[in-house]
Symmetry: D2
Subunit: 364 residues, 4 copies
Amino acid sequence: MVFFRNDYGQGCIEPVMKLLIESNDQSNPGYGEDNYSKKAAEILQSKFPDTPADIQFVVSGTLTNISVIRHLLKHYQAVISCDTAHIYIHEAGAIEAAGHKIIPVPHANGKLTAAAVERLIQDIENRISFLLVPKLVYISNTTEMGTVYTRKELEELHAVCQKYNLYMFIDGARMGTALMSGVDYTLNDLAKWCDVFTIGATKNGALFGEAVCITNPELKNYFRFSQKQSGAILAKGWLIGLQFIGLFENDDFYRCAKHANDMAREIQNEIIKLGYPLYMKSNTNLTFVVLNEIQYQYLKERVDFEIWSRWDNDYIIRLVSSWHTKPDEVEYLKVYLQEAMAKSIQAQTIQEEVEEITTAVTKI
Amino acid sequence: MVFFRNDYGQGCIEPVMKLLIESNDQSNPGYGEDNYSKKAAEILQSKFPDTPADIQFVVSGTLTNISVIRHLLKHYQAVISCDTAHIYIHEAGAIEAAGHKIIPVPHANGKLTAAAVERLIQDIENRISFLLVPKLVYISNTTEMGTVYTRKELEELHAVCQKYNLYMFIDGARMGTALMSGVDYTLNDLAKWCDVFTIGATKNGALFGEAVCITNPELKNYFRFSQKQSGAILAKGWLIGLQFIGLFENDDFYRCAKHANDMAREIQNEIIKLGYPLYMKSNTNLTFVVLNEIQYQYLKERVDFEIWSRWDNDYIIRLVSSWHTKPDEVEYLKVYLQEAMAKSIQAQTIQEEVEEITTAVTKI
Amino acid sequence: MVFFRNDYGQGCIEPVMKLLIESNDQSNPGYGEDNYSKKAAEILQSKFPDTPADIQFVVSGTLTNISVIRHLLKHYQAVISCDTAHIYIHEAGAIEAAGHKIIPVPHANGKLTAAAVERLIQDIENRISFLLVPKLVYISNTTEMGTVYTRKELEELHAVCQKYNLYMFIDGARMGTALMSGVDYTLNDLAKWCDVFTIGATKNGALFGEAVCITNPELKNYFRFSQKQSGAILAKGWLIGLQFIGLFENDDFYRCAKHANDMAREIQNEIIKLGYPLYMKSNTNLTFVVLNEIQYQYLKERVDFEIWSRWDNDYIIRLVSSWHTKPDEVEYLKVYLQEAMAKSIQAQTIQEEVEEITTAVTKI
Amino acid sequence: MVFFRNDYGQGCIEPVMKLLIESNDQSNPGYGEDNYSKKAAEILQSKFPDTPADIQFVVSGTLTNISVIRHLLKHYQAVISCDTAHIYIHEAGAIEAAGHKIIPVPHANGKLTAAAVERLIQDIENRISFLLVPKLVYISNTTEMGTVYTRKELEELHAVCQKYNLYMFIDGARMGTALMSGVDYTLNDLAKWCDVFTIGATKNGALFGEAVCITNPELKNYFRFSQKQSGAILAKGWLIGLQFIGLFENDDFYRCAKHANDMAREIQNEIIKLGYPLYMKSNTNLTFVVLNEIQYQYLKERVDFEIWSRWDNDYIIRLVSSWHTKPDEVEYLKVYLQEAMAKSIQAQTIQEEVEEITTAVTKI
């Protein structure tokens, strides 16, 4: 069984573990007021020097979204996201539980477009849609579909947010793979396009941890209270700080993300070569393939993956590579994909022959 | 200007006003613990004798939805409604503000179908959709589109709720027109198909007031606390009780609803006769017509109505009749509709002639 | 049975009823966008001309508190009130249900003092009290105990709010009796000391209705969305507007409040004369008396009142006069109070005699 | 500087770190559906075999309280805790942010008593207190003041909960020190007295982690959804599971707690011997001492501790020992305490002499 289920299925990279072990006997102030967290914030800030941020650390992604959105919005304000966003479909109603409606907008390749935001705002202003006050545009980059926003798309989203006085929040749970996917922008650019963004460590080499970077000066104050109220401050907060040090001190964060993307590209190329339909073209570590029943049955015995959705009788499955994926595992996967395709073609050929014979027999 | 903007644009029927005046100098216990409210509850209960209910009175519709849904659900539970439901689009995120996600399901003629509910539940169980626990099926009858659920549709919804252990809540803000639209069921039937339903007075002859009828014994306790916590108990609660007495004592409630439907039928017939496209065929007091620019401009100077939506360059408008609509007003409306159509046809003819001439000229 | 249970036990004054009847057949836009509401807002604004306000109308007091507090606060912010405030003890957790902690501070005569606010803030800043961000100071004037804030007290509260950047919200559910209690300030003064205040009609001559006056310019926008989201907008919103016109057009609001206070003063004087202990000295229409068992049993058969609390074996009861209280009723109440006292003295005398005899007998 | 600031200031015990290292390269299912979590649950369950529980793991204490309370309560239900409970004062309004009022009841030695619960319920039923529906009794054991509930106290609380149909939730963030404080009950007893309890690892040898044990069968279902909605499920959930294995496999959990208590006893004995006033007699690892200014100034340069509160000019400080506290550190602390006391006595003597001389001089 080779593991392509997700990018949070193993522990952490060595430099992170090393720091965990080294720090284990030290005494540290709690709740993120320690020196590791301070140093981690400085290192992160150095990656986007043009935009001073308040940087805080949170254990997990859902908690990050809850505490950021609760921090930004007043009760009467709503969130705009695309309909494939995990805050809309995969977080058990966590944002609504915090009191805010998420207005879903149809995605384009897993992405939210400025045009879709503009259309929604116009419809609301013309009173021919939701009676609501949208205030926050939420996107994830890398998206849940493995796609990545281009510079132009982000600039347009930034512009539409400016135009309508909306906050923009970039969920970077998979920021690493986005930045290493060949885009022509860096964290330093991205920081200018939004009011808050996050950098995810959980899926890229750490045991856990998300860094929340608040760049809008009006939103910096009191975030720690929003965090505390959401249960999003770890008692031994230095554990997150030191993991970010471990990831960024020697740019392992980028190396890990690049590796995950490289592995995925190889997989995706093989998939294309073999003639499997891709559900969506991905530039990062998430690959969505369509399998028929035979292929699915063959692969599920050999590969650990998630079913993303059904398409009539077919399966859309998600194959995820990560910092931890080994070239060997990719080789195995490629072999299994070849065999599954072969089996499926063979089955089809037999079926066609049977049908031919049946037809022939019928004619007699 | 004739008024077809909504069914809550005037005061109340005479018997209601009479009771308001009569009771004005009496002393009554507050917060709905008065004799008017008791008597009103008894009269309502007599309309569905087979299903003993806890009946409480709330000032308005949004408050009713907030307090009922907050009462029924635990935090982790979600609501299923169709995507045209006003709780989904027109209540400013009130249900989400109370902490609950509303999962929108595509409507069929403004209605939620049992099949759509079943599909959603299956998808969630198969983990290929929302990660959530739906618990409450919300429908409005009459729907926001003026359509009415058939006996079969309600029985199927009831069955699917039983099958998956879901609550069913029927919002009867326009229950009167639903019951008087020619359906083969009564309140006594309807009460059996759900856990809670409401009977709206605001839109059918009273100044304000919704009756909440809780039929599921497990949900009866503590509703008054949910009400109080939602701000949904009126200090002078007898004011709602007596209005329901005024509406139901001599069945004016049914008479008012029938009148509203009758007026609407006449309007709708004229619309069909004149060849306007109907956006949706309605059986009740809401009529949705599609107007072109010329028709729209002509009518908006003469008729008070709401734009429901835009369709490219056309307007979908809503014409609403009510207990208060006078036959005269309908006659005026019919004339205006005729004139608008004539103007529009004339304009089109002229345009066609111009085009013809232009073409002729071009050919020369 | 004479009625001294509360100040919301009867309908409305004649000018209000007159407008209700007159307007009954008119057509009006819904949701408070009507001309009555506009005119009512203008009349109210003319009472505090120095401070331009956004004035909106809400059906009831709890709804007012919910929608105002939800409108003002971000999630992480808390409310300071005194421990006798009804938002703290009598609204079923409505404010907490909206997500905000109320920090109770010990009252002084039913009032919150600037000193108590300052002490709390200091303790929180020194981290030796709640870990929280208080942002809103809530007071009611008249208080729940019938006492009234002096000019000096309000100025001090205003100053402490300015000092610590807190909002101040004055709940005026009984604003009328406060203003007519002999204070040396008017609405025009009061409007300057706070960010929001309300003027209550329910308890002073109307069927229902509270006017929310938002004076802080930063808080004016979007209040109608907060209202809608809280279910606090009435469909037939003109019904509240016209009641405020009826109350304020000829200053009946002030006349009603003065009458209620006058009646209460007479009652309180009698109580003092008869030697009943007052639980708290009141300047308005609420009187809190301590009764022993005999007095209580005698009165409860003749007077409709509320028990406020118990004190060992004694009862603290609340006697409330209102715009509707008739001099006759006060006369009856006075007689009952005299009789109850006489009965109680007589019983005590007998008991003393019995004890004397018993002692005498024992000695033999 | 010796560290007595808290019991979450260092990493984890060796067996925990060992498992972290060992598991680092393995692949595991996410969100707590791994074998470590399963095994950890089994080990924990074996400690209270009489009461089958649903056992889930949460990262932190505040998150545990949020997700448990959100899971248990319907919107209209409230929590009873004593006024020293951290959910009431130290969690930034997290429970109220989830929509629930906490009714504070005066503590007795940091504990909630059955009598206090009964009194509150009676007052509410008699309508002379909060208008509310309390449903959940919350206690922490060990309490925030270092005291521990006796068997009798817990049995009485259990009985009052049964009597009034209340849930009982025991927050065991410091369960270890409670169980090792010499009480005559075990986890197996305690599990029978409540509906939910937790076992805290963060403060007793692990990096982080709380085990939620739901024993009431009606409350077991769907807890994982409440967790997810609260952001309380860790992606790499096995990290918590394995820490509990590390703590419980060889009963290090008990050994750690005993050690913390032993260290505290030695400190407390010294404090008593030296004549410092104890703020509260503790049986566990938390010691609250009263210091005057001189003592405080002397100690704060040498010992890392928290100020708990002020008492006029004195300081109440908290000294916390833990699994990590070394006998050496305790020795240092004892010496500092002796020196601080000596300094303070010396200063007092000098002051008295000065006063004496001043008096003598004045007399001349």
